[in-house]
């Protein structure tokens, strides 16, 4: 019975989902209680940091890594819910359902953070994606939303089908799907070629979620098509689930050939994403391409495979979450009627809204990797972890790409601080400004003092390998 408390964050979210389900049946649209509830969830997840244990016959593991990602999930969910309370492109009748699917998607992420058995991981991933497939087209009167959703769904179906096919190879050669047993097996190409092939294919379904080249085609269309609020969720949250599973799978320390393939994809992903982001006018589309570039960066830590590398990858997922939430928060506030924001709309932002301009600048500096922001520390840890493990060429490409990325990120800041005041008045509440400021401060704070978080995460990934 004392094991029930280990399952606390999941049970709490299930409870929220149940209330939303009843509300949706009762056709109630009063969802203003939801941010408070998810905010409480953040504390529940912090409280459950100290737990440790294995549930459900070895398929579910509670450790530092899982609890950290559960905390990130609750943090992201709270901000996404706050962000979308004033969603103008959503019809009023389906508000409860909108949050119901958001909650179910996050529930899938909670399960992904703790799952240590391949079928559990797979089905938790499907739970996350299915809910997103439903969320994305819920933007009234815009056919682009449906286009984005269809692309996302078909790519997703293909990637997960390939992943499941890969699982059959792992199962055929290792006769088990438990990560704890797989950790003790050999993952050398000469001894377990079939299993490595299978693992590579299984990784695809998560690389697709990270939108790594060449599985990135859906990402810019999805961001552009879905409403700003849904894009905030789709751009940040599923990446968390993919990251935690990739970290767990990278702890198997597979063969160098597989890592090399990942490294090549990462290099192409960074270059391709950054080059295409240079020519975008739509800010969300720009962020979509920047996501592709960031996916390449995260792979750096995974191919290094060391404790520092995996810890740095976990740190970067936190950095990525905070920076993107901040950028999307500003975009959503600027878009008063729910329209997409282009670069022109940013002109003169510093005079109209100095606070928002500051937060946008912090987010852009962070995404570009300029000190003293969390993005700089994250990239620095990733680059140092990969140096000297056979991936020096990738580190050099990554450093060059950072220089490329600075151009279009700083372009955002440049436009925001140019003197072209427009007549447009923005209607922004005090609370929204406050949250924006908190995000901006978090970006700078964890850029200045990253060591505590990083050492905690290194301790967390230490638990992965026996």
């Amino acid at each position: 019975m004392e094991k029930v408390i280990l399952f606390g964050p999941e049970i709490y979210l299930l409870f929220i989902i149940f209330i939303l389900f009843v509300q949706s049946l009762a056709k109630s649209t009063k969802v203003n209680w939801l941010p408070y509830a998810t905010f409480l969830g953040i504390f529940i997840s912090i409280f459950s940091f100290k737990f440790n244990g294995v549930l459900f016959l070895g398929t579910y593991k509670i450790d530092f890594l899982s609890q950290f990602f559960k905390f990130l999930t609750y943090l992201g969910l709270t901000l996404c819910v706050l962000n979308s309370l004033k969603n103008k492109t959503l019809s009023q009748e389906i508000r409860a359902e909108y949050y119901l699917f958001m909650g179910l998607s996050s529930l899938g992420l909670l399960f992904l953070s703790s799952a240590v058995e391949i079928f559990t991981i797979y089905i938790a991933l499907e739970l996350t994606s299915y809910s997103l497939y439903v969320l994305v087209p819920l933007r009234n009167q815009d056919p682009r939303a449906v286009e984005g959703a269809v692309k996302y769904m078909f790519y997703g179906a293909l990637a997960t089908a390939l992943g499941l096919y890969g699982v059959s190879y792992i199962l055929a050669s290792k006769h088990t799907t438990y990560l704890a047993i797989l950790l003790q097996e050999s993952w050398k190409w000469s001894e377990a070629g079939l299993a490595i092939l299978g693992l590579g294919m299984f990784l695809l379904s998560f690389l697709y979620k990270l939108s790594l080249f060449p599985f990135h085609f859906w990402s810019p269309d999805l961001y552009e098509g879905s409403s700003n609020e849904t894009a905030t969720f789709a751009a940040t949250m599923p990446k968390l689930g993919a990251m935690v599973v990739l970290i767990r799978l990278a702890a198997l320390s597979p063969d160098f050939n597989l890592k090399l393939a990942l490294g090549i994809m990462a290099a192409l992903s960074m270059t391709f994403g950054n080059l295409l982001a240079l020519v975008q006018r739509d800010v969300k589309r720009l962020l979509g391409y920047s996501t592709i570039a960031h996916a390449g960066f995260i792979i750096l830590g995974l191919v290094a495979g060391t404790k520092l590398g995996l810890g740095a990858a976990a740190f970067y997922s936190f950095a990525y979450l905070v920076m993107n939430l901040a950028a999307f928060w500003v975009i959503t506030l600027l878009s008063q009627k729910g329209e997409n924001i282009t670069l022109e709309d940013l002109k003169g932002l510093a005079q109209r809204e100095p606070f928002l301009a500051f937060v946008l600048a912090a987010a852009s500096f962070g995404l570009a990797g300029i000190p003293p922001t969390v993005g700089f520390s994250g990239k620095f840890f990733l680059l140092t972890s990969a140096w000297g493990h056979g991936f020096n060429w990738l580190v050099i490409i990554a450093a060059l790409n950072t220089a490329l990325a600075i151009f279009y990120y700083l372009n955002l800041v440049r436009l925001a601080y140019t003197k072209e005041p427009e007549e447009k008045r923005l209607d922004i509440s005090l609370n929204s400004r406050l949250v924006a400021c908190l995000l901006g401060v978090a970006i700078v704070f964890f850029g200045l003092i990253p060591q505590n978080l990083l050492s905690f995460l290194i301790k967390a990934v230490n638990q992965l390998t026996p």
Binding site: F56, G58, T59, S91, E97, L104, L107, F119, L127, V134
Partner: protein, 171 residues
Amino acid sequence: MDKIGLGVFLAHVLIIVAGGLVTVFARSLVRALTGLIATLFGVAGLYFLMAAPFIGVMQVLIYVGAVSILIFFAIAFTKSSHLGEEARPRKQSQWFFLLSVPGLVIFSLGYLLIKFIPQGFLQPQETQVKDLGGFFLGPYMLPFELISLVLLVAMMGAVILGFEKKIKRED
């Protein structure tokens, strides 16, 4: 005894073929679906005849119970009427294609199977239904339960998106 068995077998074949014909020729989609359900029931009967009751029960549960309901939902959501495109009379050439390609496949496959049937060398092992259940609800309990959640999401999603679309169309 053999004659009774043959009679039962032929009765099942009759149900399957008749159901199939109804599925193909019915003008209304709902009627076609009832034909499909009859066919699926017939196939389930064949499994019982082959002394594989578990597969038979699964056939009824999964195909008759779940898949047909799913198709029915799809028909209901898309509001397909009996006056749609598929209700128009077919052209001569369409009949030719309809009959030739499946006919070729069926007869060539049947001929190959009867002519070159390989001798089975593996002895089938009897697996108790109880063991199967223990396997699914033992180590794989959590994914098994999660599947029901995924199905719930898929169904709710279909309902939401179906109704969203309807609202738009009426505008």
